[in-house]
Symmetry: C2
Subunit: 479 residues, 2 copies
């Protein structure tokens, strides 16, 4: 047994060193690897397959609300990036710059896209003329580059994968409505598919996107009590439209500026899955997003009847569109169990000669390790039930964890104490002044995560300066 | 009627100026647009949706043979690109180079990937140790950059979308077998899905990929008689493995070099679809790859019964997984017909008040323009049949066209005459000497397209130099 535990022993315990545990899981579950290019990661099959599942599901939801996919150039001329002043300030310092094309120096250097607002504005400037051309609801799946000094797999790297939606609307109201609609798609998807509950709200001006009028965010809580910004949706108003001259002729033949939005989620979501659901044996994947949902392990590989039954089960589960694999390798069963656990496969089916005699097999859940003996002729139904139960149990556990890690602070002392001693979100009132945000960050490293949509007045005064409170804010340390 | 024809009149006739016709169709069917970045294109929804369909289908076929998707970094350090000498010679002159990261100059410049052999070799060097780790069958869907001086939508641009598969095998035989397997997947896909027949064969040394031992190709024939290289599959032997030190310990505990392959198709395939199937009214899409397979046009938009029936038909076709849209816009029917034709939608269903009275409607095929009056209660079946028939008719027409545009040349005069007067492929014998390939290219602009798998000896002597013939070669002008 000692040897079978090797895989598990190779990862740091989660409570000992969360950061090291995270890196170990990423590595041992073969999700990602470092490359020889500073700050750039390799998405290995295990990690990329999760992203493919996220993509497929979100893409379907985008298309249901009329979004169309496009692909825009990888490069942005410096002059185009500079057209909107807040935007260029936010992004130019972290761009990678192309200065040579082939053997010749370029006349104007090109940024490798850090985000594509400027390209979409340029396109909309060219293709939007009349109110009949609106709305434009475009999205692209691509990689973006932001030159980061420190990197962490999935959470922060110089290149990452994401989708960026960019839309143009006739009116302010329509743009605002669409901004919120996409935020809700993100939040519903994370809850229903990734089993991660989100706090939804608006970012303060200090934390909003460079060039946006309003930024909305979904914030998740990791197991170590730190927040992870998991997706954002921005309403640009007509700021970009003025900078890029994106106008249309309205029904009364008058020239109007469009109102724009953008919204994105990235491979960060994979980091969230790991840090919300993982445990000391490795990854735990919610069944809906798991590339492999069921692994079948024959208890004796030299037994032909067992092998035949495993193959039969494999085929019948495949027919039900369950993502299933059988592990016929010559490793010992204990090792196979540990490997399947490390990779977070939701259900394990064990079939041995004695089980066969009794017409039974064993199902083991990854999250609770609960074992159930099941009649072989009921296996498909039990597997389906098991996947559903595990998905909803994982969500409920994550909800309980989130709800158990929100504390209210009414005084600055309470606030400082909470940051130090109560991992999780802190709810506290705020006067609206950026100076208070800065002081809090300076004193505690906590930042304002969002002003939740469901506002309450838990106190009359700002937790920091004591002036009149304007907003309830969720605060926290964050990734 | 004059006004309804406007859309069509805006495109050049195919026989008048094929190149201009192509550009017009790309533009008017809204597949692609030029961007403000030299050589870079914008994939608009109509073009990108075709690529998504190609991706989905090919990706399924890749996974069926055990290929796993990954994502590798966008950048390649210059030193890594230089490790294999033929390879760097082939690609370095057309790389875009990143020299600044944020505000600081980089110590080593980075190429924006023109192709990723070097990165995969670097990865395999790190992760392959034992024969148990083989084969590695990885693929990625991404964009690549090659700094082109002249560009044409889908055919040649500084950035394009593709997939690149990279595999590592134990033996030479296994690598060769896999190289051919992937070529066959490409060729079957093009025939069965894009309705494009391919000539399959091996490239001459002059035309092979930089660093490959053998390059295999699928070559299609465009309507103007020029060839389009549509996909390639390379066997690298152990050349890259030596350059990058990719080794494994075999079953006898001896150190061996792996044998590698790579294979790719790109958004060029969309160019092939346009140039094989398009006509003077625009695009003609094979049903299997068409983003919209059926458009429903109400003949009177102000008739409630007609609108209701259109919606009913829309829903019932959607339920059958047919990709269908209804055009309820306030444009005139003739205009809608022209627009649907321009976009290449395979079937058009017309429903008017008189049809309703008779319980009928009209189906019009995009390719033949054949009209069929159909009972409404048989519509779904007829649509399914119509899509299948059109798909196979399109393939047969393309096959007939290909077979009708292959001529044999036995003498150099015949060869030169064929290049000038017989658009299409020319079959002629070759001695194997690169000097003859160069002379032929110099004299006629035709190049060797491939040495077909099915070799015949149509003559004893090389068509160019008269020396002993070694291979039958397909020659032609090419994109």
């Amino acid at each position: 047994m000692a040897k079978d535990k090797k895989l598990v022993e190779e990862i740091t315990a989660r409570e000992d060193d969360f950061a090291q545990w995270y890196t170990d899981v990423v590595k041992k579950a073969e999700l990602m690897d470092y490359s020889s290019i500073k700050g750039c990661m390799i998405f290995k099959p295990g990690g990329y397959a999760i992203w493919e599942n996220i993509q497929r599901e979100l893409d379907k939801k985008f298309k249901e609300v009329g979004v169309e996919n496009v692909y825009m150039p990888l490069f942005i001329p410096e002059s185009l990036l500079k057209k909107e002043s807040d935007h260029v300030e936010g992004f130019a310092p972290e761009c990678a710059w192309v200065t040579y094309g082939g053997l010749e120096p370029l006349q104007e250097r090109l940024a490798v896209r850090p985000t594509s607002e400027t390209l979409f504005c340029d396109l909309y400037h060219n293709i939007v003329q009349s109110y009949r051309d609106l709305p434009k609801l475009y999205n692209q799946w691509c990689s973006v580059v932001r030159w980061e000094k420190t990197t962490r797999p999935f959470l922060r790297s110089s290149e990452f994968l994401w989708q960026e939606g960019h839309t143009a609307h006739k009116t302010e109201e329509e743009a605002e409505e669409f901004t919120i609609k996409m935020l809700n798609i993100y939040s519903d998807f994370c809850r229903d598919y990734l089993a991660i509950p989100m706090i939804k709200g608006r970012k303060t001006d200090k934390e909003k996107f460079a060039g946006a009028k309003a930024t909305y965010t979904i914030e998740a809580l990791m197991h170590d009590g730190k927040a992870l910004q998991s997706g954002t949706s921005h309403n640009f108003g007509d700021g970009f439209a003025h900078a890029f001259d994106v106008t249309y002729t309205d029904e009364n033949n008058e020239l109007q500026h469009v109102h724009q939005t953008s919204w994105g989620v990235s491979t960060r979501l994979i980091g969230a899955i790991i840090m919300v659901h993982g445990d000391d044996s490795g990854l735990v994947l919610p069944p809906k997003v798991a590339p492999v949902q069921v692994v079948i392990v024959p208890i004796r590989t030299d037994d032909e009847a067992v092998a035949a039954k495993c193959n039969e089960v494999l085929d019948s589960l495949k027919k039900e569109d369950i993502r299933v694999k059988a592990d016929f390798s010559d490793k010992r069963p204990g090792w196979k169990f540990a490997e399947a656990e490390m990779r977070g496969i939701p259900l394990r089916v064990e079939i041995g000669p004695k089980d066969l005699e009794k017409g039974e097999c064993v199902i083991v859940r990854r999250d609770t390790r609960e074992k159930t003996v099941v009649k072989l002729d009921e296996l498909t139904e039990k597997i389906k039930e098991g996947l559903e139960t595990m998905q909803s149990d994982m969500l409920h556990r994550a909800e309980d964890f989130l709800n158990g890690h929100i504390s209210d602070a009414h005084t600055y002392d309470e606030f400082v104490d909470a940051v130090e001693n109560k991992p999780g979100f802190i709810r506290a009132m705020w006067c609206g002044d950026v100076a208070c945000e800065e002081k809090i960050k300076e004193d505690t490293t906590a930042t304002s995560r969002c002003m939740p949509f469901e506002q309450e007045k838990i106190d009359e005064k700002c937790v920091c300066c004591g002036k009149e409170a304007k907003k309830l804010v969720y605060w926290g340390k964050a990734y």
